[in-house]
Amino acid sequence: MNALTIAPGAPVLEAQSLRREYRMGDERVVAVQDVSLSIAAGEYAAIVGPSGCGKSTLLNLLGVIDRPTTGSVRIAGRQVESLSDAEATRFRLLHVGFVFQRFYLMPALSALENVELPMSEAGMARAERRARASELLGYVGLGKRERHRPSRLSGGEQQRVAVARALANRPSLLLADEPTGELDARTGTEMIALLERLSADGTTIVVVTHDEKLARATRRVVHMLDGRVERDEPVR
């Protein structure tokens, strides 16, 4: 499962006719409908839209966190919508990196241990994962704060640790849900710069955001409204 290879220029992510319904009491709510999307290797895309338009739900479907009611998702050539819970968990661990709006670092672990966590779960040897975690923290500019617990890091620093954690197992795809949502203007800008650097280094990134600055920094913006893709355009 770890040995998925993607031909250059081939799509990393292909979603076909996605639909996701929820039941809220007696009512049926359609969060996402008729969404088809293809993300090529190395692409940097943003999904934008008003609150409740279904962009986070779409991101969860693309990241194999949630299952579509109908439709299919293919990541790095593998059909993922019908994976069992355990298979989906393993797939996310090895192929999808997540960054959340609220960082969600483990409070009892240091920055280094937080980054090591997915590698440890994947069974990587201790010395190897420690070296990689250290390297990743250096990459996101936190080389000197790797022993700090999340409570001793600023919001921007915590989000950078979260990015390093997302990259730990060299995922095919990095998904970020409002990565600047909890940051102030200055740290938000630093986060945008970090994501741009990641994109420039070849990481495939999809972000969900309200942040116009972040959306403008990507190469492609997918506009959503009422669960549908309204517009899909490159950033000029």
Binding site: I65, D66, T89, F91, M106, P118
Partner: protein
């Protein structure tokens, strides 16, 4: 802190109840076997010293018993009460339990100092007797038996010499006791006690089939009952079944309380960290790993609480044992709460298993929440 305290109290109570359920049997067993006698012959239908019934033709009985190749030692004992006149000559006579024994084979007391009751007029006494009578080893005193209130006279009296100080194994703390040669106590009682004994203790040869010897005794002496250690324990067990049942009920209750406590704590902990758990699952940490992690946290609470519980349990056991030690007639050596490593391990084991089981469900439930929904709810608040 509350969690640790709660689990500690539960562990303490469980330990106490396991100690209560097993300790009494164990200490009774140790007491009965302490002098190596595996069988006790008593008048049929009675337990040793439970009634005033006696065995007749004791010397013949003892001789037949000694003739059995499986028997290595026979110790006849006659029980009764003696009265000692106070030093000054006025006031009420001092009454004491009296045992008539054959000092070379007796299994009723441990001589602490002085000489044993070998001579006809020798008397071995315990500390309670010495304290109440204000006598010392070497003193002479007159002992009497069977006071007849109508005649205001004793059936028999004798001048005796206080030769030794001893600890009587089967008597309660504070109970006054004297031991003298069997023949002396028999003769003090006149014809009514001639050649009689309350009990004959029998030590079987090592490797002998004790049950076979017991059956042989009952066959040979149909008017007597041969009681093995196991039978005696079973009979005492029946009388004290209340305590074992109480221990079982309260032990179960403390186990249930411990179980519910851990369930509660893990549930609160999981509820507080639903977002964290959802993220762990989102980044690919397997559900069983999340569950293991949470259960381990419960186990950690128990690991911290257990030594505290152990100390608390031992303290309360001592307190409760002190209360029950005041039971009238209870041998001093009997402990209701006896600490045995096996009891501690058993209660710890039970608690650990119930703690793990208690933690599994809430943590499994927490780790099985739909990731997307949980993340959305946690984000929205």
């Amino acid at each position: 802190m509350l969690a640790v305290l709660g689990v500690a109290v539960s562990a303490a109570m469980l330990l106490d109840m396991v100690m209560l359920a097993t300790g009494m049997r164990q200490s009774l067993r140790s007491l009965l076997l302490s002098r190596g006698f595996q069988l006790r012959v008593a008048p049929k239908g009675t337990l040793p010293f439970d009634t005033e019934a006696t065995l007749d033709s004791t010397s013949a009985l003892a001789a037949r018993l000694r003739a059995n190749p499986d028997v290595v030692s026979v110790s006849p004992v006659l029980g009764g009460h003696v009265h000692v006149r106070p030093r000054s000559g006025d006031g009420a006579a001092l009454t004491s339990v009296a045992l008539g024994v054959e000092s070379t084979v007796q299994g009723d007391y441990e001589l602490l100092n002085g000489g044993d009751a070998t001579a006809d007029d020798a008397l071995v006494v315990n500390d309670a007797f010495l304290a109440a009578s204000h006598r010392r080893i070497g003193d002479s005193l007159t002992v009497a038996v069977d006071y007849d209130p109508q005649l205001r006279a004793y059936a028999g009296t004798r001048l005796m010499r206080l030769t030794g100080r001893a600890r009587f194994l089967y008597l309660a703390a504070g109970q006054r006791a004297v031991a003298m040669p069997l023949a002396t106590l028999q003769s003090l009682g006149g014809a009514a006690r001639a050649d009689r004994s309350s009990l004959v203790m029998v030590r079987a040869r090592e490797g002998a089939d004790v049950e076979r010897t017991r059956l042989w005794i009952e066959r040979t002496f149909p008017r007597s009952a041969a009681i093995s250690t196991e039978t005696a324990m079973r009979q005492v067990d029946e009388r004290l079944s209340y305590f074992r049942q109480l221990a079982f009920i309260l032990g179960s209750v403390s186990l249930i309380v411990g179980f519910l406590l851990v369930t509660t704590l893990v549930t609160v902990s999981v509820n507080e960290r639903l977002g964290e758990i959802a993220v762990l699952r989102a980044i690919g940490v397997a559900r069983h790993r999340v569950v293991t992690q949470i259960v381990l946290e419960g186990v950690a609470i128990m690991t911290v609480a257990t030594p505290l519980g152990l100390a608390l349990g031992l303290m309360t056991a001592r307190w409760l044992n002190g209360i029950l030690a005041a039971f009238p007639g209870l041998p001093e050596a009997i402990d209701f709460f006896l600490f045995q490593p096996s009891a501690a391990w058993a209660s710890l084991g039970m608690l650990a298993v119930s703690g793990v089981l208690a933690g599994v469900y809430p943590s499994w439930r927490g780790a099985s929440q739909p990731i997307a929904t949980t993340l959305r709810q946690e984000a929205i608040g």
